[in-house]
């Protein structure tokens, strides 16, 4: 098998050679895995939307699951969907949109949880136990997985759910692909009044207001997230725009506008932009502009979900904005009691470093726990920011952020990470050794080799 150098993670900061196999049918995967040479270590790959090295497996094999992209069954009465694991959330949404248009009487169904892009596979959503803007209500994706079929290296296919192979089920949700290849899953969809969203953007001037807005919004709004201007400091520290939304039907008596969601990106960045494109100046102006553009008094609108949930999906390969060296995303969660102080400390450290972040988001997680053993969320606040990769300088800043997170009792999100220390990972996920027992003996990843190494503190 030829070594390939074009298999990257979304952040494009890690460049490792891999071999790749692409099973197009379940039986093909079933035959291929037991035949691998014993020294080969493999890892499933979906659409490559993890940012760092949790989806990479340097010098080893990736098993591309995107060929397993078939629906198996959809019960329109109960909203139970079964599909293969390479199915994308975009394909599911497109189907649900078609079905809603044809619905006569039967409920309108929607994804129970969706991350910030619809270009991820169901297998990837499970393996990272992704969350969305409704975490405070719905929890993680894994909470809506009724069962899954897991293929181990031995060729064995195991049915896993909370009642059957329950430990392996818990390890596979948020298991980063390390427990085997998910072949298919059964997902409980959510009934909604319609595919439209009522939205409101609230501009706020200081971090404290974010926490009070989160508190007051949760009863009436299913979705919320805040974009923040992470270059603002002093009295304006943490200022941003708080967005909230809820599903609605299009108001009776008027015709909804015709919307063409971006089922495919509308255009793609064909090349890496020069790294100057995202300098402190451009990022600073962009962030200030976004803040000032938001209306001072909140305005309600009814819009299609696509633009609200997946604003970046229209631009293919937007990750190339960060230039050849790629970027890192830092996402951590901080437990509730320490969150206000720790978020402040993180923002101060970032503002002081002068490292611009193009996108920074803040969101309050709820208390609904996931079955996933290594699931990232905990009750508290999550902060996510992008940093252009400027080498040691960037890594040093991220290490400073780690120590703030560590001290506050928080942890980082493996799906976004490509550099956290073994010590910080192991402190954040004390259940990591219990998880490790369920790893398929032939599976591995670059991330896992790093974070499971003996921790030096």
């Amino acid at each position: 098998m030829p070594l390939r150098h074009d298999l990257l993670a979304w952040g494009r900061a890690h460049r490792y050679p891999h071999t790749l196999i692409t099973p197009a049918f379940r039986d093909e995967a079933l035959r291929a895995l037991p035949q691998l040479p014993t020294e080969t270590r493999w890892l499933p790959r979906g659409l490559g939307r993890s940012y760092g090295d949790s989806g990479l497996n340097a010098d080893q094999l990736l098993v591309d699951a995107t060929g397993l992209d078939r629906f198996i069954a959809l019960d329109v009465a109960s909203g139970v969907l079964e599909c293969e694991a390479g199915m994308t959330l975009a394909d599911i949404l497109q189907l649900l949109e078609t079905r809603a248009a044809q619905a006569g009487g039967s409920p309108v169904w929607f994804l129970p949880v969706s991350p910030g892009t619809k270009f991820v596979t169901v297998g990837g959503a499970i393996a990272n136990d992704v969350h969305g803007k409704n975490h405070h209500r719905a929890g993680c994706f894994g909470s809506h997985v009724r069962s899954l079929k897991l293929l181990r290296s031995s060729g064995e296919v195991l049915d896993c759910s909370t009642t059957e192979n329950a430990e392996l089920f818990a390890a596979t949700i948020a298991g980063l692909g390390l427990t085997g290849l998910i072949l298919s899953a059964v997902i409980q969809l959510k009934a909604v009044p319609g595919l439209w969203l009522e939205t409101e953007d609230v501009r706020y001037g200081h971090l404290d207001e974010f926490f009070s807005l989160s508190e007051t919004s949760r009863a009436d709004w299913e979705y919320d997230v805040a974009w923040l201007d992470c270059l603002a400091s002093g009295a304006a520290l943490g200022r941003g725009v708080f967005s909230r939304a809820r599903h609605v039907a299009w108001p009776a008596g008027s015709t909804p506008p015709s919307v063409r969601p971006a089922w495919q990106p509308r255009f793609a960045l064909p090349v890496d932009l020069p790294s100057l494109a995202l300098s402190r100046l451009t990022v600073g102006s962009f962030n200030a502009l976004l803040w000032h553009r938001a209306p001072a008094t909140p305005k309600r609108r009814t819009v299609h979900y696509d633009g609200v949930f997946y604003p970046l999906d229209a631009i293919g390969q937007w990750n190339r904005l960060y230039g050849k060296r790629g970027f890192y995303q830092y996402q951590c969660v901080l437990p509730q009691s320490n969150a206000p102080a720790a978020v402040r400390a993180l923002l101060q450290a970032i503002a002081a470093s002068g490292e611009g972040s193009f996108l920074a988001v803040l969101k309050t997680f709820g208390a609904r726990s996931s079955p996933g053993l290594l699931s990232f969320p905990m009750p508290g606040t999550t902060l996510a920011l992008d940093f252009a990769n400027r080498g040691p300088r960037t890594l040093a800043l991220l290490t400073r952020l780690d120590s703030i997170t560590h001290e506050a009792g928080g942890r980082i999100y493996p799906a976004k990470d490509g550099r956290v220390s073994a010590a910080d990972f192991q402190q954040g996920y004390p259940q990591w050794q219990a998880f490790a027992r369920h790893i398929d003996p032939r599976c591995s990843s670059s991330f896992w080799r790093r974070v499971s190494a003996p921790a030096s503190s």
Binding site: M1, R4, T22, F25, R70, I72, T98
Partner: protein, 250 residues
């Protein structure tokens, strides 16, 4: 008015291009009859198409190299669909050229599956559609059939022969209200080409190619190069003089 393509039979229904065509038709609530060799894969493709909106999906498991079954398969499709609006012939194999050079039996077997088998099915289908006085047939050929090249002339000769067969069949059936389209895909990102690193403007997705195929069949087009720019590429390759072509290793 474009042809409806509401009742369609697909031979080689588990190939990537066939699946993409079937998905598009299923989303338009078409009724489908699928033929392929592997029962388990066929089942999974059929289930997918039902969820995507196909009004009805029936299947037959068959090795299409066995031409003795073709008449019965077309009859089954006719019973299931009643009227056959459309037929897509999508089966075929991409052989190892060096094996074909070493072993005449392998070469003949490849020519058989890529030329004789579709020619046999087309003959059976032609009778049904001529009797109906309507229908659209799409046949997947290949740009490899446009000029013999050292790297895969055995496959190319089968597809080239099929191309001439389709041309003649189109000529004959055109007078009876039936249209036959020869489809020549370029580089398509499918399992058949999974070992090659993709990227660059020459590669197309199966979805894009499928959309072109459905449109060309509906419109009754004679020959479809998909994506379109392959028409230009192949015109150039066909017209390169032999004394230059002989120096290449294409």
């Amino acid at each position: 008015m474009p042809h409806p393509l509401q009742r369609v039979v697909i031979f080689g229904a588990t190939s990537a291009i066939a699946i993409a065509v079937a998905r598009q038709l299923a989303a338009e609530n078409a009724q489908l009859f699928l033929v392929a060799r592997n029962a388990e894969r066929l089942d999974s493709v059929a289930a997918d198409l039902r969820v995507r909106g196909a009004a009805r999906v029936d299947m037959a498991v068959a090795d299409l190299a066995d031409t003795t079954r073709h008449a019965a398969l077309v009859a089954e499709a006719r019973i299931s669909l009643q009227t056959i609006d459309g037929a897509l012939i999508a089966h075929g194999t991409l052989p190892d050229q060096t094996q074909c050079e070493r072993d005449a039996a392998v070469a003949l077997q490849q020519i058989s599956i890529n030329f004789l088998s579709p020619a046999s099915i087309l003959t059976e289908l032609a009778a049904v559609m001529a009797a109906q006085g309507s229908g659209r047939i799409g046949v997947i050929g290949s740009v490899a059939g446009d000029r013999g090249r050292m790297s895969n002339y055995v496959y190319g000769s089968a597809k080239g022969g099929l191309g001439v067969f389709v041309q003649g069949l189109r000529h004959r059936l055109g007078k009876q209200g039936v249209s036959v389209t020869l489809i020549k895909p370029g580089f398509v990102d499918t399992p058949m080409t999974a070992h090659i690193a993709k990227g660059g403007p020459l590669w197309a997705t199966a979805e894009k190619v499928a959309a072109d195929i459905v449109k060309a069949m509906r419109g009754g087009k004679a020959t479809l190069y998909t994506p379109w720019f392959w028409a230009g590429i192949m015109a150039t390759i066909r017209n390169v003089p032999d004394f230059i072509f002989g120096k290449t290793r294409l």
